[in-house]
């Protein structure tokens, strides 16, 4: 029997409705996995941030660009030995890549306390500040996982890059 199979392994374009279906799948699995309610909620909160981030970037791509990408979006939740891994991949515009990298690198180098302060000041600055985000979602991911965000950005075409993100959280938070 396969050890530690994926709880969710979705390959393809994501959207609001699919996010709902994946949450339902996680909920169904949470009983089998005997997940604490708090752990389930942390995974759902992370899932929502990661997936919304995924399709927000994909929705900005023109159809011909998406067709030119050999790598399609995906989303995985996997139980590993001591943690859950949430992983997502999607094509993004190369012009967005630098800003995204900058945001994640900045969040990754912050001690938890400073991250907490940054999160609070960003929240206090309100709803009118950003579109693609002052990075509140990214900060929330880092705050929940309490670990660095693992990511990569690889060029795939002249205008596209492929972005993957991995978030780890302990088995029973």
């Amino acid at each position: 029997m396969q050890q530690n199979p994926e709880i969710i392994n979705y390959q393809g374009y994501l959207n609001y409705q699919i996010t709902g279906e994946l949450i339902e799948k996680l909920e169904a699995n949470s009983h089998k996995l005997n997940l604490k309610k708090s752990t389930y909620r942390k995974i759902v909160t992370l899932m929502v941030e990661i997936i919304e981030n995924n399709y927000k970037y994909v929705n900005e791509l023109a159809d011909h660009m998406l067709e030119s990408s050999s790598q399609k979006p995906y989303f995985i939740v996997k139980k590993e030995d001591s943690c859950f891994r949430l992983e997502s991949g999607n094509p993004i515009l190369k012009k967005d890549a630098a800003q995204l990298k900058e945001k994640i690198d900045f969040v990754n180098q912050l001690p938890q306390e400073d991250l907490q302060d940054l999160y609070k000041s960003t929240m206090a600055n309100g709803i009118y500040e950003n579109n693609k985000g002052a990075g509140l979602g990214i900060m929330k991911m880092a705050k929940i996982s309490k670990r660095k965000i693992h990511y990569s950005i690889q060029d795939i075409t002249e205008h596209l890059a492929y972005y993957t993100i991995k978030i780890y959280i302990p088995l029973n938070l």
Binding site: S38, K42, T45, E52, I127, G137, K140
Partner: protein, 137 residues
């Protein structure tokens, strides 16, 4: 007096029940609307108008004897919703700043619940005390 604002919950949008008559304002459920602006902007606008009109048109002495009960009973919220929920709390805080009685109740399931941390963050950012209560279920 402002009309009651009631929005029924859906699988991924919260229930809103703001009842000026009872001075009880409740939000709860799951906050993950497809379009946070579309969902929350009318709610925020209702709160802004309600707070503004209440403070402008009521005699202060009368208001001092009243208590505004604000209840948050969320399972989880996405970050775009949390920005609007924060703005809603910020508006209710104007009552507190005018030394009116405001009681904020924030429900959670257990001490590891993410929603508890979200509430603690809000309370700290806005400098407003919340009553954190464990859900009975």
């Amino acid at each position: 007096m402002a009309e009651r604002l009631y929005i029924a919950p859906t699988q991924y949008t919260p229930e809103i029940d703001f009842d000026p008559k009872k001075q009880k304002f409740k939000m709860g459920g799951i906050a993950r609307p497809e379009d946070s602006y579309e969902f929350f902007e009318p709610v925020l606008s209702w709160v802004e108008n309600f707070v503004k009109n209440t403070l402008e048109h009521h005699e202060e002495n009368k208001l001092l004897n009243e208590t505004f009960i604000i209840i948050f009973d969320f399972e989880y919220m996405n970050s775009s919703s949390s920005k609007y929920i924060f703005q809603i709390i910020s508006n209710f805080k104007k009552f507190y700043d005018k030394r009116l009685n405001v009681s904020i109740f924030w429900y959670y399931d257990d001490p590891d619940d993410q929603i508890l941390e979200d509430g603690e963050d809000f309370s700290e950012i806005i400098n407003l005390p919340f009553n954190f209560l464990i859900r009975n279920n």
